[in-house]
Symmetry: C2
Subunit: 260 residues, 2 copies
């Protein structure tokens, strides 16, 4: 009876719904219920339910006028985000290695999550006292140089929205006053780089800059992190300037694609 007895853990409704999703996607054009049902040999009622579910989840789009389905915003959004992350990571990696060698400190790459930044790559300095992050970790925006760099270049509305979220206190130095944060962000927008001194992790500091896409939107951020003791303000400023240059190069390459 089972059509795919390969893996006993395969959930049939899910598998069949994915086949529906795939068929719709591969059709290159909106397709109707009956056509899907016939093509996949799945009873009309069942197909109907899957299409409804996929649509409710945003993976498909239901054209009321023609009663047909095609790819939905959710899938496109996921694909776009994934492509963006891959591309940034790929473009940034060589530059990150260069920066690591230049400063002999850990270099981090992160993208914007929801109220947080998520590390998507990092190149660690070969020192015994190293920094903490792991790929996939997420930290608050307001307590990291990576987050501040992104916040400073976000469209006003979105920045306000982010700052409206509750701000967690990571260390005694974490900035929590709205006024203070906004003042710093304006400064970041002017100088082009953000610094953070023990605001996210005691004894650690970070200098970060945004990476902008063709529309000037901060899709990611690049940073150098170090123990506070190894990175005085003067060196941090120097790092900020270098980061700004490097990030500008990456942004330019990203932006060379005319927006879709």
């Amino acid at each position: 009876m089972a059509k795919k007895p390969d893996n006993p853990y395969v959930v049939q409704p899910v598998m069949k719904a994915l086949k529906v999703l795939e068929l719709v996607a591969r059709h290159s054009h909106e397709i109707a219920l009956t056509a899907v049902s016939k093509e996949l040999k799945i009873p009309k009622t069942t197909t109907f339910r899957y299409l409804q579910t996929l649509t409710a989840a945003g993976f498909l789009d239901h054209n009321r006028a023609t009663d047909r389905y095609n790819l939905g915003p959710q899938l496109r959004s996921i694909a776009r985000a994934d492509a963006s992350v891959s591309k940034v990571r790929e473009l940034a990696r060589p530059a990150m290695i260069g920066l690591m060698q230049e400063f002999n400190e850990t270099v981090n790459l992160a993208v914007k999550g929801n109220g947080t930044i998520v590390y998507i790559d990092l190149v660690e300095a070969n020192r015994s006292l190293r920094m903490q992050a792991r790929i996939g970790d997420s930290h608050p925006m307001h307590s990291t140089a990576l987050g501040k760099a992104i916040l400073a270049f976000l469209p006003d509305a979105e920045r306000q929205h982010q700052l409206d979220l509750p701000l967690t206190e990571r260390t005694g130095r974490t900035l929590l006053e709205r006024e203070e944060i906004e003042r710093q962000l304006r400064q970041v927008a002017r100088s082009g780089y953000a610094t953070e001194m023990g605001e996210n992790e005691d004894g650690a500091m970070c200098v970060g800059v945004p990476i902008l896409d063709a529309d000037g939107y901060p899709v990611a951020a690049l940073s150098i992190s170090a123990p506070l003791m190894r990175m005085p303000h003067s060196l941090a400023a120097k790092a900020g300037v270098r980061l700004r240059e490097v990030a500008a190069g990456i942004s330019a390459t990203l932006g060379s694609h005319p927006p879709g």
Copy 2:
């Protein structure tokens, strides 16, 4: 008990599995079973099954080494195909309108399906006797100018594979001999355009040219179709030359993106 009683036709396992897919995708990095389970408040066993299913369908990828999951090839493939189709359609539309006005005949745009071509756009001439295709229709490759244009520029291995499939006889004039078809395709490769005279639909003809991506792969084809009586060989040749120019422009714009 039901979490989303909105739509009574929503299939819960499918919906929850899609949430899992979305979470993994949004995580920007590979994620482990337990993390997904905790995040979505879905029992570990169930989450496990969904991850297995999504992986079996190719939507996720399971990293055996780290026992973590991330986006799979299927999703990327769907996204790529979709983006490609959208982009070609968008780029080609103005040119298609121009061609329609120039020749006062229907202009068609199609992509490669599996052994077939699929119409993804068309601009119809305002004449009483018009051609037949509708967006989403698919026709055999070997019996259409669109298909021949694509076949002629396919890598050898793939072209052979396509021609190995059974060739349906659409009209009395449809080419069915392997030798004859291959000879024509070589001619198409030389001249840069393909013609078809009553081989797909009695009384109708078509002139088609390929649209190539940055790698020279024929992702789509552009054609002008007309009743045989209105388009003698001499005019068809003229149309072929124009189509070649127009398609070259579209191909160039497509190719301006360095490959990912």
